[in-house]
């Protein structure tokens, strides 16, 4: 292990390390702590400039319920869920199939298609913006949840395919050959053999894509116009314009917007990190 384990250096080192870690963590998270404290502050505190001291009173329930009663935050949240959940399912379904095809079949253009899915991940969104927007208007899907879902599925299928393909590639070919010998059809090989084996990869992808799509701002800006379609990211930004002085509401709104991805991250931490570090550790 590097650096050398701290407990080999004696109890003093352990204690000072502990203290240093806590101080570093507090400094690192100051922006978040501030926003959390402000989300329970009173308006008087804010107008008096008491933004960094202790709140004069804690308005946890008042402020958080005010977000839902005085702003369309509930609709934004619902929209985010309606956009994110189908996207996760759709993108992963498409990518599991495509990843299987790219990993376990030899055909001309295999590597080329794989390269296309990889490259597609890294392009700037702006190169897609005008045609995708026009396409959505043409299809009657502009400013609709369906339009955002369709685009996100298509775009995320690139990353997911890359991911699934590498994961399936690592499964032994003998497994598939044996199944073919038994007369198992290709479709059943996918459903009965591959899918059960790639469950961990599907979980990793699901949490990752959930976070990516939940946090998307650009496409929400480009493809959604009305509050009834806007997800929390774009909604929060529009709130910021409307409620410039109501920092306690903006803060509470920000916390609400972050709550779902953060709790999913904590529940599925291992999967999340496995997804992000794909290929980062093996040469």
């Amino acid at each position: 292990m590097f650096p050398a384990p701290i407990h080999t250096k004696g109890p003093f080192a352990v204690i000072s390390y502990r203290v240093a870690v806590i101080i570093a963590l507090v400094l690192w998270l100051i922006p978040l702590l501030a926003i959390a404290l402000t989300s329970v502050r009173s308006l008087e505190d804010i107008s008096k400039g008491n933004l960094w001291g202790w709140p004069s009173k804690f308005l946890l329930i008042e402020n958080y319920s005010a977000v839902f009663t005085t702003t369309p935050m509930a609709i934004f949240l619902l929209n985010s869920i309606l956009i994110t959940v189908p996207t996760v399912i759709g993108a992963i379904a498409l990518a599991a199939m495509a990843g299987f095809a790219l990993a376990k079949y030899k055909f001309r253009g295999n590597i080329l298609l794989f390269a296309m899915f990889i490259a597609g991940n890294f392009i700037p969104f702006q190169i897609l913006m005008i045609p995708v927007r026009d396409l959505m208007i043409g299809l009657g899907m502009y400013d609709s949840i369906g339009g955002l879902v369709a685009f996100h599925i298509a775009f995320q299928s690139g990353f997911c395919t890359l991911f699934m393909r590498n994961f399936i590639k690592a499964l032994p070919d003998a497994l598939i050959e044996a199944a073919r010998m038994e007369g198992v059809s290709e479709v059943n090989i996918f459903f009965r053999i591959i899918l059960p084996l790639v469950r961990p990869a599907l979980a990793a992808l699901a949490v990752l894509i959930f976070t990516f799509v939940w946090n998307d701002y650009f496409w929400a800006l480009i493809l959604a116009q009305t509050d009834s379609v806007r997800p929390v990211t774009a909604g929060l930004q529009s709130l910021k314009g409307m409620w410039v002085a109501s920092w306690q509401l903006i803060s509470a709104g920000s916390i609400i917007a972050a709550l779902l991805p953060v709790s999913i991250f904590f529940m599925m931490q291992r999967h999340f990190i496995a997804g992000l570090t794909l290929g980062a550790t093996k040469e």
Binding site: I35, F122, A258
Partner: protein, 308 residues
């Protein structure tokens, strides 16, 4: 094919009776599995790229007819001061964003200890990456607020005058980059923590036996083994820097006086607010070409690894 032909099932029935699908299953299956993802990707990613390049040769307000003007958009772009402001800002992003792998590595080395509670601590350090850039942007614009932001509280406390980073054209881009570095460092930290986890312990022990420790140990033994993590960290950081849009849009809208604009935001502004789709497409194409250098670099090294 052979596998099916020699399987007991296919031998028990004459080949002619088997359906077309069954006979060509192994050739058709990959096409069938691939087609939904391929169709979606071609429709919403590949075709729009080509279409954008095509639009960049036109004058178009988004509604009326497209007028072909050849390279005029590009000529205009290369003589547009704002383009150079955006380009220079993108370069600033690119250079300063490379502090993220460095910072991530430092934090990872600091946190790479096994103690009760360390997993939670690491997860909390990773926090900024999980939350949306919109929230990051909101938090930091508040941090920088000239009247009550924490930055000025701290500056005043040490006897320095207040500043307004987001209102100052010389400071604004740096102020936004700092906000962007926060989640980016968290991301790189996770990559390095995973990398450190997989460092060969025998190699470390052997080096320790030889009396190697501290910085020489890090430089000669550890860092080479972290190469895959460094590679991914640099790639995602460079791409992230070139893609920067969210924070600029949230924190400043490119202002003051367009001083914090980047190519991604400049394009959006021209297309959406100025109704200049052709010009916007030209900006997007230039950004795309710049990014292609990095994408090609990534693809080549990834496919080379693949071939091994």
């Amino acid at each position: 094919m052979d596998a099916i032909m020699t399987s007991p099932v296919s031998l028990s029935r004459p080949a002619v009776q088997r359906s077309f699908w069954r006979r060509h299953e192994k050739t058709l299956a990959p096409a069938m599995f691939l087609s939904p993802a391929l169709f979606a990707f071609l429709l919403f990613v590949v075709w729009p790229i080509l279409s954008s390049v095509w639009i960049s040769f036109h004058e178009w307000d988004g509604l009326g007819p497209k007028i072909f003007i050849g390279l005029d958009n590009y000529r205009e772009l290369f003589s547009d001061d704002k383009f150079y402001v955006a380009l220079v800002n993108n370069i600033k992003w690119l250079i300063l964003y490379l502090l993220a792998p460095v910072g991530g590595l430092i934090i990872a080395l600091f946190l790479n200890q096994q103690m009760p509670g360390m997993r939670l601590i690491k997860a909390l350090f990773f926090f900024p990456f999980v939350i949306s850039q919109v929230v990051v942007g909101v938090i930091f614009s508040w941090f920088y607020d000239p009247n009550f932001g924490l930055l000025n509280v701290v500056l005043n406390a040490v006897g320095l005058p207040s500043i307004a980073p987001l209102g100052d054209e010389h400071m604004v881009t740096y102020a936004i980059i700092v906000a962007g570095l926060w989640p980016q460092i968290a991301y790189c930290m996770i990559l390095y923590l995973t990398g450190l986890n997989n460092v060969n312990p025998e190699l470390i022990e052997a080096a320790r036996m030889d009396g190697c420790k501290g910085f020489p140990m890090f430089w000669n033994i550890i860092l080479p083994q972290l190469r895959p993590a460094t590679f991914i960290a640099v790639v995602v950081t460079v791409i992230g820097a070139l893609r920067s849009f969210d924070l600029v849009a949230i924190m400043t809208n490119g202002g003051p006086y367009d001083s914090s604009t980047v190519l991604g935001y400049f394009m959006y502004e021209q297309a959406i607010f100025a109704y200049r789709m052709g010009y916007g497409a030209a900006i997007a194409t230039v950004l795309f070409l710049i990014m292609d250098i990095y994408i090609a670099f990534f693809l080549v090294s990834m496919l080379r690894k693949e071939a091994e």
